[in-house]
């Protein structure tokens, strides 16, 4: 099982990356240890905490329970990709201002989930935000200021 390495290519942040990987490597491990992209975090490695969330073909997914081999021919986007995207910038600005960031370990995953929400629903209400972010655990904030950040970003974008 182990040790059988194969060449594959994976498209991360619009760049095609050639990789030598065995079938066991998760997307998260490849992003962090092979490609040096550390914005997705390993909080539980079990698909529960949401800190490793990235976009795969436009859908937020847990990179810790996604095998890298399954990402061949798919588009993977991490937080880093969206630095010039107005929707992400609005979220980042409002997380910054609203006190939605404490230790910051869950922040990248939350921003990806919130981004997916706003792309789908530009004017979410409280319940929409709670539903969209219910797969991202934050142990610091109590969540209220994260809700504030998302709602403020949606208002900033619509104004």
């Amino acid at each position: 099982m182990m040790g059988e390495k194969a060449m594959m290519s994976i498209n991360v942040n619009n760049r095609s990356q050639a990789l030598e990987t065995d079938g066991h490597d998760t997307l998260l491990t490849v992003l962090r240890d092979e490609l040096g992209i550390t914005s997705p975090k390993r909080g539980c490695n079990q698909g529960v905490c949401g800190s490793c969330t990235v976009m795969i073909d436009g859908t937020p997914q847990r990179s810790c329970i996604t095998l890298s081999a399954s990402c061949e021919n798919k588009q993977v986007h991490t937080l880093d990709f969206y630095k010039d995207d107005p929707t992400m910038q609005a979220l980042q600005n409002q997380f910054y201002n609203c006190g939605a960031v404490q230790c910051g370990f869950c922040t990248a995953g939350l921003l990806i989930s919130a981004y997916a929400l706003l792309k789908d629903n530009p004017a979410p209400n409280l319940k929409d935000v709670q539903n969209a972010l219910s797969g991202n655990i934050c142990r610091c904030t109590g969540y209220r200021k994260i809700v504030d950040g998302v709602i403020a970003a949606s208002k900033e974008l619509s104004s």
Partner: protein, 780 residues
């Protein structure tokens, strides 16, 4: 709503909700945490954990592991000396040696080229054990024929009078007044036994460390920590290294709630790095983080409280039994602190508290936000509610009648200098529309019941020592260096605000040094709600000393007296009554290049107020002679209980805290909200469960923490400011206090909804359903 008075003080940056200094890098995903450090040529470490709760280690066979692909080094207990570490009792080796004491205890480690290779090789290490009978509960540990977990306990170094004996790690007894004869003066007495469960910290960042030994044999260590200095002390004690050989540093920290204060796997990482000669990175998996770091103590509490007919509290006694786990860690402090807080923020003239801390073959229990206070508050604040109901007095009125105020002594005698407790109670009463709520409770939606409950609390901020160095750079900017680790709560920002305010400079011109044992002054740690209060005091004094030097230079440059010059906003000094000014740039340039040398202000302090007044009270086994200043809080919660499932939801919460002065109100609000939610999880569902000696739920699949779907948006934080005379701009701590009252307030609200008194945490759906069923049966 934030009831801050900051705008009325006319101050600059203190009292402003400025965003945290490092928020930008965090929202960009660029903050570097321990797992994000990849030194060149590094190897990955992995651990082998003990499968036994209690066993002697007879020997190791590492041949197979050493031969495995990619393996660089293997470490076992044979590689480390007899050094032992521990904050209160030095009972712990760097890695298990001679004996294992809990399932999950690190017993060997491997360094290999990849993490996967290291983990595979760790499983190839063979260890011969002789299993011993385990001790799984404190009651069992105290039995006459119990297996002894630390046979050499008597010879261990202890920093206080612990009274250790057999499996009893320590005992503490406090007395004030005359409890024994006070009961006969009470018209109502309530008595009960309460239990609380183990809670896991679950910082979303698991613990980890990176270590590297250079060519001179000196070691650099980065780790997930709450104190670079406690890391340095623990590594050096356990590995018998002089402190001069170890430099302890910090990356960004993915939160700490007490779990990262004392050591986790830093000593093992350093030993492994010394053995293999390459940088070693060791990051725990979530399961390992659950099984081998530390957790909140399970408590058994017997409490008795008595009052007169008019509601005057007369006496209380509290007896606690703590499961210490395999190593004492911070446990004696937790025990002592909970006994000190067991009286609650009340004037109760007759008070007795005592407790025992007992070794068991479980993970070490230690510091966790609240530090023993949530447990005793769960008992004490429910008894206040019981008394109020028996005497048919409104629970708020009963509390108001008995609370401490400024100038009153805390239990054991320390004088309370500032007390905004009455304002906290007023604020939550008003915000929650308490009396209207009481009238309108009970069922609105068929099948659901609502209830309202309240609890009050106090907490300390303080302890031990801190220091600060304020340097004026050549261009007039300010470099602040304290050694206090910002664990995400925002202390770098708050300390920079204090520094900027004192020097009247723009916040942007203040830089905050990352803690480093080579370059920072000592700071005991980011713990005990202490950084704003203790390190803030050091920063303010250091900045004031720098200001005096700045003004001295200015006076010489203006050729006037120092009394004639003043600091003005924006980093300038002016002659009083004139518009003549000199910028810090000109002053600092003079100091650097011509006269006097660089301008540096520095200040060191240790907390100075005695906990015990021997004329008032008696204490045996007091683990901390000087503990801290008191913050206060009041909490009201409204709950809804589903009659069919027993599920309890929090509808709304109103939490008011007296923090002396909110240096940064937004950061205080996040502490209030975050502490409430962590307390909500503790109250309703979080619980570490053991199957024999093995933790059966060491994953986030099986151990549930609150998600955004489990918590109300309506957590209203109310800031009360009753300035502490020696606090920086009046500030006291805010980090822990918000969790203390949560389980008690929820239990009181659940009682209001169901007429059943919950004395055991967590209040799971099953327990609440059974309680509802039993109370209905009783009243039918």
């Amino acid at each position: 709503m934030s009831n801050t008075v900051s705008n009325t003080h006319g101050l600059g940056v203190v009292g402003k909700s400025v965003p945290k200094l490092e928020n930008r890098e965090k929202v960009l995903g660029k903050a570097e945490y321990i797992a994000d450090i990849y030194p060149p040529h590094m190897v990955h470490g992995a651990l082998l954990a003990s499968p036994h709760a209690h066993a002697l280690i007879l020997g190791y066979d590492v041949t197979e592991a050493l031969a495995a692909p990619g393996v660089v080094a293997v470490l076992t207990g044979d590689d480390v000396g007899e050094g032992r570490m521990g904050a209160f009792i030095k009972d712990e080796h760097a890695i298990a040696k001679h004996r294992v004491r809990y399932v999950g205890e690190p017993v060997a480690a491997v360094a290999a080229e990849t993490e996967q290779q290291a983990r595979k090789a760790a499983d190839l290490i063979r260890i011969e054990y002789q299993t011993l009978a385990p001790v799984l509960t404190p009651e069992q540990g105290l039995a006459a024929d119990a297996p002894i977990i630390h046979p050499d306990l008597e010879s261990y170094f202890k920093v206080f009078d612990a009274g250790s004996e057999a499996n009893l790690a320590s005992r503490t007894v406090f007395d004030e007044g005359d409890v024994a004869s006070a009961w006969e003066h009470c018209d109502v007495i309530v008595e009960g036994e309460f239990t609380t469960q183990a809670q896991a910290h679950v910082s979303i960042e698991p613990c980890g460390a990176v270590a590297h030994m250079d060519g001179n044999g000196r070691i650099k260590l980065w780790s997930a920590n709450q104190s670079v200095f406690r890391v340095q002390a623990n590594v050096c004690e356990s590995l018998e290294l002089p402190m001069s050989r170890l430099q302890s540093l910090t990356p960004r920290i993915g939160a700490g709630f007490g779990n990262k204060m004392e050591p986790h796997i830093q000593p093992i990482t350093v030993a492994l790095a010394m053995k293999c000669g390459r940088p070693v990175k060791l990051i725990l998996s979530r399961e390992e983080d659950f099984e081998m770091v530390r957790a909140r103590h399970p408590y058994r509490i017997r409490m008795k409280t008595g009052a007169k007919k008019d509601g005057t509290l007369v006496a209380r006694s509290c007896e606690v039994l703590l499961d210490c786990g395999a190593y004492v860690d911070d446990s004696p402090g937790v025990l002592g602190f909970s006994l000190l807080m067991a009286r609650g923020p009340y004037n109760i003239p007759n008070m007795h508290s005592e407790g025992k801390l007992v070794y068991t073959n479980k993970i070490r229990f230690g510091a966790f936000r609240g530090f023993g206070n949530p447990q005793v508050t769960f008992a004490g604040e429910q008894q206040i509610d019981e008394i109020a109901r028996q005497l048919e007095i409104d629970p708020i009125d009963l509390r108001r009648k008995n609370i401490l105020s400024e100038g009153d002594p805390w239990f054991l005698g320390q004088k309370v200098e500032s007390a905004g407790l009455a304002q906290c109670i007023d604020a939550v009463e008003k915000a929650s529309e308490w009396r209207d709520q009481i009238r309108s409770t009970k069922t609105q939606i068929p099948g659901r019941r609502t209830g309202i409950g309240m609890a009050i609390t106090a907490h300390i901020s303080g302890l031990l020592s801190s220091a600060a160095i304020v340097r004026i750079l050549e261009d007039g900017c300010v470099a602040l260096n304290t050694g206090a680790v910002d664990i995400g709560q925002g202390s770098d920002t708050v300390l920079a605000q204090i520094c900027a305010e004192t020097l009247k400079v723009d916040l942007k011109s203040v830089s905050v040094a990352s803690p480093d044992t080579d370059g920072s002054p000592y700071n005991w740690g980011t713990t005990a709600s202490r950084v704003t209060y203790m390190t803030g005091r050091a920063v303010k004094s250091a900045a004031e000393k720098a200001a005096i030097k700045i003004k001295q230079h200015a006076a010489e440059m203006f050729d006037c007296n120092i009394e004639d010059v003043e600091l003005r906003d924006g980093g300038v000094v002016g002659i009083i009554g004139t518009d003549k000014v000199l910028p810090f740039l000109a002053i600092s340039a003079r100091a650097h290049w011509a006269v006097g040398g660089p301008i540096i202000g520095e200040h060191s302090l240790a907390f100075e107020r005695d906990t015990l007044d021997p004329k008032r009270a008696v204490a045996l086994g007091l683990p901390f002679p000087r503990i801290g200043v008191l913050s206060f809080g009041a909490l009201v919660v409204e709950v809804e209980v589903d009659e069919v499932t027993g599920q309890t939801r929090i509808l709304k919460a109103w939490s008011a805290l007296d923090v002396g002065r909110a240096i940064n109100p937004q950061l205080v609000e996040v502490q209030i909200e975050g502490a409430f939610v962590q307390g909500l999880g503790y109250a309703l569902f979080e619980e570490m469960v053991w199957d024999g000696g093995r933790l059966s739920n060491p994953t986030l699949m099986d151990y549930k923490v609150p998600t955004i779907a489990d918590v109300p948006y309506d957590i209203e934080s109310i800031i009360i400011e009753s300035p502490e005379p020696d606090g920086p701009y009046g500030a006291k701590g805010a980090g822990e206090i918000g969790i203390n009252a949560v389980p008690a307030a929820i239990a009181n609200a659940v009682f209001d909804a169901t007429s059943y008194r919950h004395r055991h945490l967590p209040m799971t759906s099953e327990r609440v359903f059974n309680g509802l069923y039993n109370s209905q049966r009783k009243y039918q």
